[in-house]
Symmetry: C2
Subunit: 318 residues, 2 copies
């Protein structure tokens, strides 16, 4: 078992304390997604990073809850912005509660995240965590704005990488950095963990994009190739557009973002994208190895969980 059930349970118990109000529309809307079966990867990363050096899990739980609460606020707002009706196979918050209440539910979780930070007992740690988390929140917004702009043009690989580093990477990196702060890591350790975090943040996003193309529909909770139909600019697509011959490139562009296409064209596009999927897989392997190498300065037994997590991220099926 990669994820320790005991830790996951503690994270969930901590999260519940922030939204423990019943029969209230706002709180119901705020809980809808928060307890809909998310993987809890971010708070888990915070806790296991902390456990590289320390064992008093209770101390780190508010910090872990904070990153998960931020993650959930961004999902609720993103679903409104992107007009998505489903997530994890369930109707999104704005579909169930209406857009105004969904905006507000996101805003409430945002506030609760910083309330969580304020529950950290040590003044200095709370202050450090606040710096890291607020900076990450800024970057997440900037990344989302870039992503929205990409609807109007094909970004370069550099622009794309900046976008996902901000939109997805920033909060994953923050989750780890916050664990490091709570564990009182020294400068060298924090730097190593940052490099680890950058790489798994990247592989996390790439694996999402790969799974959309070659994953299992049932496990993903959405149809394979959704990104193709939506014309989403992923690292795979951008690599393909850079490397394909003119004919294949032209055909790919005809299919991408075309709402009228059927399963046949989706299959055709995936076929065209195959070399770029391979490129993405290779890149992930390389980044995962690099990530694990940065952990070498930590205790052999204690670092095991983070090593396994790096492997898990690129082997996961949903």
């Amino acid at each position: 078992m990669l994820f320790d059930k005991n830790i996951l349970q503690k994270i969930d118990e901590e999260l519940k304390t922030y939204v423990d109000i019943d029969n209230n529309k706002l709180y119901n809307a705020s809980k809808h997604l928060l307890f809909a079966g998310g993987k809890r990867i971010r708070p888990y990363l915070t806790v296991v990073t902390y456990m590289l050096k320390k064992d008093d899990i209770e101390e780190v739980l508010p910090a872990a809850a904070a990153v998960e609460l931020i993650h959930n606020y961004t999902l609720i707002h993103d679903d409104i912005m992107d007009n998505d009706d489903e997530r994890r196979g369930k109707p999104t918050v704005h579909v169930v509660f209406g857009e105004p209440m969904a905006i507000l539910a996101g805003d409430l979780l945002y506030a609760k995240a910083f309330e969580a930070v304020s529950r950290i007992k040590d003044n200095k740690k709370a202050h450090e965590v606040l710096k890291i988390l607020s900076k990450a929140c800024v970057e997440v917004c900037e990344g989302q704005a870039m992503d929205m702009e990409f609807e109007n043009y094909y970004p370069t690989m550099e622009e794309y990488l900046e976008m996902i580093r901000k939109k997805t990477g920033a909060l994953l990196e923050a989750s780890i950095e916050i664990g490091a702060v709570m564990a009182e890591c020294n400068e060298e350790e924090r730097e190593a963990l940052k490099e680890y975090a950058k790489r798994i943040g990247l592989t996390f996003q790439i694996q999402d994009d790969v799974l959309d193309l070659i994953g299992d529909q049932k496990k993903l909770g959405k149809p394979v190739g959704s990104d193709i139909r939506e014309g989403k600019k992923t690292i795979i697509v951008i690599h393909a557009l850079k490397t394909l011959d003119e004919e294949k490139k032209k055909r790919l562009l005809e299919i991408l973002g075309n709402k009228d296409i059927g399963d046949e064209e989706i299959k055709e596009a995936i076929e065209i994208l195959k070399p770029s999927i391979e490129y993405a897989k290779e890149l992930m392997k390389q980044k995962t190895e690099e990530a694990k190498n940065y952990l070498k300065i930590f205790d052999k037994n204690r670092r095991k969980v983070l090593e396994n997590l790096a492997d898990f991220i690129i082997s996961r099926v949903y």
Copy 2:
């Protein structure tokens, strides 16, 4: 001059440092309202509360910026939720930049507010401010949710007072409490300032509602009686429904929230509401006196500004 220009300028300069990025749609959307001529009452309260005991304004500016950034995020999101097209005589953010970008602009200012808190140098003060501000943010959301629910029924006076204490009062109170923390006020001083804050928070909201009925259209930037047309439940309306005879009450309910009514009916409603407007004015006078009494424990010269502000709030014309 009630508001010290020098302080206002310092607040604006501080605010600019958080959104100092040009040619970027997200940042343009975030700046649209932030520099559209707001009164800066909240950050001003933070600064002048601080100055009850201390003079190093630079120390308190990040905290002051934080409350103004939160205020602006709530306005942007509220305008989306309430579907309002204009604020301060200018088109709202979502009208100019579209709803997705407006949601995101609010989210960015939210993050910047906590970045501002993280810029407070002293660990302990930063931690205290974080506690106060995150709690206020939770209450603002709860208040807004209550206000949205009020669209479906007439709340009792108690429910109404709880709603405005949260929606409007919480952040005004936080602005003052944060000033007190930054000024290292003792427990007694903090309690007195809290009582002061509660009262001016209430009078601030009531004066808004009074101005809507008997204010100057040009100075307000919106037509007189908008609240009547929208059927807004204000303290004046709730008092009227509690005290009017059946005939007048019936007539008032016919007019309230009726989109087809003209200026004649607005005038008629205001006439019916006159005794309740008087009630509201009396209540404000009483609360303002109480508020000023709580300041008596502070230095006579230093407390002058807060005394004048309490008077200003109920005498302001916009």
